[in-house]
């Protein structure tokens, strides 16, 4: 059995199914429109830096839309049980690891598509307003550096946690934890907000794009974050995501062996 072909096939179909969910697009567009009313760089004076506006816009997209990604990825694994395809899948030659990795990557990449679409609209507006195409490569790089690892990190936890937690409970806890952690980082429960594992991308943003700590660029920024710390954060987010999926696979295999 060619595991590579199987993995790519799973990735393709999971991508297709997630991308064609109406809820995905409606949620992102509705919440994107809502949040960007309150947090946007459009009305900054034209004399300010377009690059700063692009980086700020990237941070806003990640801060507010990544939570939507987490919510919409939470049902991908329990869905197989709900619609009763899991028994058939357990009798097929495809390994659990191939199927789960394909599901994780396919669903998460598909979830990034509407995020990127909304991001692109904002970036296009900045390009037009500041009348400069020079920020386009920065827009692409900042999206890849700040948004992608954060969403991959969140996606892994969303898919894995709902293997053991009821979906609505996970979604409530996740939203609560996300906003509590980012808005009130030093109050009450410990959070990842000021740590190198912050999925909002504070270390990456400051380290790569705002090393001098200028106000109004990274939202949120981390004072003193260097490019090295930014790189560490980037790799740790992706590495942790992979570990979480590996742990999920081990759990599913253990569960199957117990039956």
């Amino acid at each position: 059995m060619n595991q590579r072909v199987t993995f790519l096939g799973v990735l393709k179909y999971e991508f297709y199914m997630q991308l064609h969910r109406r809820a995905l697009w409606i949620s992102f567009i509705a919440l994107g429109l809502f949040f960007t009313q309150f947090h946007q760089p459009w009305f900054r004076p034209i004399t300010t830096s377009a690059s700063d506006s692009i980086i700020y816009w990237t941070g806003i997209v990640q801060s507010f839309l990544a939570v939507v990604a987490g919510l919409l990825l939470a049902d991908r694994l329990p869905r197989d049980r709900r619609i009763k395809v899991d028994e058939l899948f357990n009798a097929l030659p495809c390994t659990v690891s191939t199927r789960i990795f394909g599901k994780y990557l396919g669903s998460t990449i598909a979830t990034l598509v509407p995020m990127f679409a909304i991001y692109s609209i904002g970036a296009a507006y900045i390009v037009v307003r500041w009348n400069t195409l020079q920020v386009l490569p920065l827009a692409l790089v900042s999206f890849a550096a700040i948004v992608i690892p954060g969403v991959m990190f969140i996606g892994a936890f969303s898919i894995a946690c709902t293997a053991i937690i009821w979906i609505p409970l996970y979604q409530i806890l996740f939203v609560g934890y996300w906003f509590w952690g980012n808005l009130l980082p030093n109050v009450g429960i410990p959070t990842l907000s000021a740590t190198i594992l912050t999925p909002v991308g504070g270390f990456i943003c400051t380290g790569f794009f705002n090393p001098h700590g200028k106000e109004g660029v990274c939202s949120p920024g981390i004072q003193g974050a260097t490019a090295l710390l930014g790189a560490e954060s980037f790799l740790l987010l992706l590495g942790t995501a992979i570990l979480v999926i590996v742990a999920l696979i081990c759990y599913l295999k253990w569960q199957q062996a117990r039956q």
Partner: protein, 298 residues
């Protein structure tokens, strides 16, 4: 030829539920029926055969593969076609897309070959005209046909179908049975059902399960012979016959009522002995076990 040998198989779930008790059975090639009421242990046995569940005790050999080992279970999945009792589909995929996806999961790596196979199977199950429709628009019967199509994608040597006609209308049921009958040949096909008529129309050999045990194993003729002399037509004025019997059917005629009964009938004048059918024989077999009988009529 694919022979299946099961020796002293047990399955006990957590909580001490004995789903299968000391099952010993041999299944050769061709159509084999696994009959029994709900809760008999058929689906548990099926799930062990497919490698989804592990037995608590016992030995299971499918062809050259020992299904007690992880390697054996992995190997079986490559030659297996399985239609589960609770068969679900991804509602937003079309029939063609779903079959293509399952084909990928079954290891059919060659895209052209896989697509050709998908088209062949859509034709066999008469779903080519609707192959681009989303599966959420399919009726129960159409989904079952997709189910059998996906089971056949890898041209399996062992095909297992669990309650394939439950919930289908008579026409769909007949279509499904005919489809299964056409699939025999060098394959081993196990049809697990609680509907006696499905077995009667398709299988020469069968086993009956009850309470986790095998209470009969043999040919359809053997089962029919067991009920010889036990099936009667009794005509009354309306009162149901009593005694150590099961009333199979009641037909209201003008002025009288005709009952078909299975059992030991005494003291009924005018009772006519009649040839048993498979349903009668099944009921008689259950009757002999002195356990509550469930008669499944079409």
């Amino acid at each position: 030829m694919m022979n299946i040998t099961i020796n002293h198989l047990d399955k006990t779930y957590r909580g001490g539920i004995h789903a299968i008790n000391n099952v010993t059975i041999t299944i050769g090639s061709g159509m084999f029926g696994l009959l029994g009421p709900n809760g008999a242990g058929k689906t548990t046995l099926i799930r062990i055969l497919t490698g989804i569940l592990r037995p608590t005790n016992g030995m299971l050999q499918i062809g050259e593969y020992n299904v007690n080992s992880e390697e054996g279970r992995k190997a079986i999945r490559h030659i297996l076609g399985y239609l589960p009792q609770d068969f679900g589909v991804y509602p937003d995929l079309s029939a063609r897309e779903f079959l293509d996806y399952i084909g990928i999961l079954k290891g059919l790596s060659d895209r052209t070959g896989r697509q050709r196979r998908v088209e062949e199977l859509l034709e066999i199950v008469s779903l080519t005209p609707v192959s681009n429709r989303k599966l959420k628009t399919f009726s129960a019967g159409m989904k079952r046909r997709i189910g059998i199509a996906q089971a056949l994608l890898n041209d399996p040597k062992l095909l297992i179908v669990d309650e394939p006609t439950a919930g289908l209308d008579p026409e769909e049921r007949i279509r499904f049975r005919n489809l299964l009958s056409d699939l025999g040949g060098n394959r081993t096909i196990i049809l697990s059902t609680h509907i006696v008529e499905d077995i009667a129309q398709t299988c020469q050999k069968l086993a009956i399960m009850k309470g986790g045990h095998i209470i009969f194993q043999g040919t359809v003729s053997d089962l029919l012979n067991k009920a010889q002399g036990k099936v009667w037509i009794v005509t009354t004025q309306g009162i149901k016959p009593e005694g150590n019997i099961t009333v199979m059917s009641t037909l209201h005629l003008s002025g009288s009522v005709q009952h078909r009964v299975v059992g030991e009938l005494t003291n009924y004048t005018g009772a006519i002995l009649t040839e048993p059918n498979l349903e009668d024989s099944y009921v008689w077999q259950m009757h002999e076990q002195r356990l509550p009988i469930q008669v499944n009529t079409l």
